[in-house]
């Protein structure tokens, strides 16, 4: 009995420490492999030039530009809606109201819907339904402009996917605004909306920014929703209208590593592209962590 206890007393902490170690090891392995594999190819030239010679040489500038455009349009569409939803959930809705619970459930569900299903929805709703409808209205269906995959539909699909991310972190920030501030404002005679606009929102600006950054980081990394809503394999020109297709970093990695005619020859490009994407998402995530840390310390004070 005592031996068994001693054995267990040793093995339970040891096993759990081992598991923790495995996770750290895997993360180090992934990052190490990608940094080592990509470092050699990475250069300013690589970041600022277009793919050449049938994508076996050259850089990834169009993919970086496309990713940037995607997340900007996505944020413009998603962040205001997410922020307002968070305001509703934290300021207007009482915990027990059925509507608030329905919305909360919807947000949780939205967060759990597979990315590929968002892609299908983008294709079925934005491209086929809205886009085709717009073509019918604008040109009577003669000219096909919006009824095909493009950067607008891809961005809106992505905005939908990242909506829960925005809502959750903005709500957290709003709840961190001290009660005293709200009460002071209300006691001075401000209405609820005035309080929200002049007191609550300015004080949760960092939180909104955090939400936006996290959403951008998530949106930049997801590929499944844009597979058939707007991303393109190769484009000679940068997109210059919302109805254009675009190249994207994650999609570029996928396509280069699985469907490129000579996968081995472009290994360096693949690794370097992955490194760029990884660097981008990490920078964004660290910024978000830093901001969140600042919010937390502020709300304690």
């Amino acid at each position: 009995m005592t031996l068994k206890r001693k054995l267990l007393g040793f093995s339970v902490p040891a096993l759990s420490a081992l598991c923790a170690f495995v996770i750290i090891l895997m993360v180090v392995l992934i990052i190490g492999d990608i940094v080592l594999g990509g470092w050699g190819t990475l250069s300013w030239e690589f970041l600022s030039s277009t793919p050449k010679e049938g994508m076996t040489a050259g850089g990834i500038y169009p993919a970086i530009f496309g990713t940037f455009l995607l997340v900007v349009i996505m944020s413009i569409a998603g962040v205001p809606i997410g922020t307002i939803t968070a305001i509703y959930l934290s300021e207007y809705a009482s915990r027990r109201s059925i509507l608030a619970r329905v919305i909360r459930f919807a947000v949780n569900t939205l967060a759990g819907v597979p990315a590929i299903v968002f892609g299908l929805f983008g294709l079925g709703f934005f491209v086929q339904f809205v886009g085709t409808g717009m073509d019918q209205l604008l040109t009577g269906g003669v000219q096909l402009k919006w009824g095909q995959p493009n950067i607008l539909w891809a961005s809106l699909t992505m905005a939908l996917l990242t909506l829960p991310v925005v809502i959750v972190s903005v709500e957290e920030a709003i709840r961190a605004v001290p009660r005293d501030l709200r009460e002071a404002s209300l006691a001075l005679g401000a209405t609820k909306w005035q309080t929200i606009r002049k007191v609550v929102l300015p004080n949760s600006m960092t939180g909104i920014l955090t939400g936006a950054i996290l959403a951008v980081s998530r949106g930049a990394g997801e590929v499944a929703p844009i597979l058939f809503t707007g991303a393109a394999y190769f484009l000679p020109t940068l997109p210059n209208s919302l109805s254009d297709q675009f190249m994207e970093l994650g999609y570029h990695i996928y396509i280069m590593s699985t469907q490129s005619p000579d996968v081995e020859a472009t290994r360096g490009i693949q690794y370097a592209t992955t490194l760029v994407l990884l660097g981008l998402t990490f920078t964004l995530n660290f910024a978000a962590v830093f901001l969140r840390y600042r919010i937390r310390t502020k709300s304690v004070r």
Partner: protein, 382 residues
């Protein structure tokens, strides 16, 4: 966290009447001077507040509307399978109306509208290559051939194989690590492990897929001598990297939420630290851990890029875990771009999407309704 807000809300409501108007029209005292003007201002003011509240509520309601829309539109595109299998095939067989994805398409709208028009008059006729509900339950998935076969069994088993591998690997690692952080971990390791998990959660799935495809698959083949470099096991292992953060975060959350009274009581009775962790804290957090595993399953089942890149993508119906598989999500990702709009294949892919959606939706609902409430009940009064 919740308590203060509800308090604030009641206070806000109390504070509103009467006091609200004064500041708003201090500058417009000329209007406020007459009692009639005062009333008018007050009314207008309340109206604005009312409108803002309704607008905010309406926008918040959008989240729910999107869920309904996703339901509606994913199912709508899959619907032809069930209502007029014969009709769909006939549309696809007319070359004039065949449009390929991504190219300049003229009159696609009319084609689609036509197809939709025809759906309303279902004709019972099962042509070669059409997908009836019966044909979907078959062992061959050959959507692109002269006699297309849309048997979903290999895809469904593929998805389950990869999910099982992923969760079987991820769940123990994540749960024990969470136990480590909450019960044993020295402070420094806590400060290493948690950010590491956040980093892991922040790695885009396409990067994990790339790592699995290029580095991990080769390494594993060298070590274990797999016949196929890319197989269900490699895919599942890669997928576990995406699942670990979810299970870890939720488990850790529910472990720390176990009331201190319980751990302290256990320790006071003479139990050691590990006994408390294993026999008191862990059982008390079971509903939360269950929720974590269910959400992990949902994530694994729906994940696309990792399995698309790391499983080999062969639609084989077999029981082997070391053979290439094609999952449901990967089929959508790989085939949707080359499919003919409105075609049977198109509808079948949307049907697969509907299954994925329903599956994850059900898991979510179970977690939301059953597990969370039980967790609440268990800790009530402590």
């Amino acid at each position: 966290m919740d308590e203060p807000t509800t308090l604030t809300e009641t206070r806000i409501v109390e504070a509103r009447p009467g006091t609200a108007e004064e500041t708003s029209h201090e500058s417009k005292s000329s209007v406020g001077a007459s009692p009639l003007g005062e009333l008018w201002w007050r009314k207008r003011f309340r109206l604005a507040e009312f409108l803002v509240e309704k607008l905010v509520t309406a926008i918040a309601f959008l989240s729910f509307a999107f869920i309904v829309l996703i339901f509606a539109f994913v199912f709508r595109e899959a619907a032809p399978l069930f209502f007029s299998s014969g009709e769909v095939t006939s549309v696809a067989s007319k070359p004039a109306e065949q449009e390929t994805y991504g190219e300049e398409q003229l009159g696609d709208a009319q084609g689609g509208a036509l197809a939709r028009e025809k759906e309303k008059t279902p004709i019972e006729q099962t042509g070669e290559g059409s997908a009836t509900v019966r044909n979907l339950v078959d062992k061959t998935w050959q959507p692109v051939s002269s006699k297309p076969k849309y048997g979903l069994l290999p895809l469904v088993t593929g998805s389950f194989k990869v999910t099982i591998v992923a969760v079987l690997i991820a769940a123990p690692i994540a749960i024990f690590s969470a136990l480590f952080t909450s019960a044993f971990a020295p402070k420094w390791s806590k400060e290493v492990l948690k950010p590491t998990i956040e980093i892991l959660a922040g790695i885009p799935s396409v990067v994990i897929g790339f790592f699995a495809l290029i580095a991990m698959a080769t390494a594993l083949q060298n070590v274990f001598g797999f016949q196929y470099r890319l197989n269900a096991f490699v895919g599942g292992l890669a997928l576990s990297l995406a699942v670990i953060p979810i299970i870890y975060t939720i488990t850790e959350d529910s472990l720390t939420r176990v009331p201190r009274v319980m751990t302290e009581a256990s320790l006071a009775l003479g139990a050691t630290k590990w006994q408390t962790a294993l026999f008191v804290v862990l059982p008390a957090a079971t509903p939360g851990i269950l929720a974590a595993i269910l959400l992990g399953i949902g994530r694994a089942f729906g994940e696309t890029m990792i399995v698309l890149m790391a499983t080999g993508n062969a639609a084989i119906f077999s029981a082997g875990f070391f053979e290439p598989v094609r999952t449901m999500s990967a089929s959508i990702g790989a085939e949707m771009a080359e499919v003919v709009f409105g075609d049977t294949h198109y509808s079948v892919l949307f049907f697969i999407g509907s299954i994925l959606f329903l599956f994850t939706f059900t898991l979510n609902a179970i977690v939301e309704i059953v597990v969370r409430q039980r967790l609440m009940k268990r800790f009530q009064g402590l």
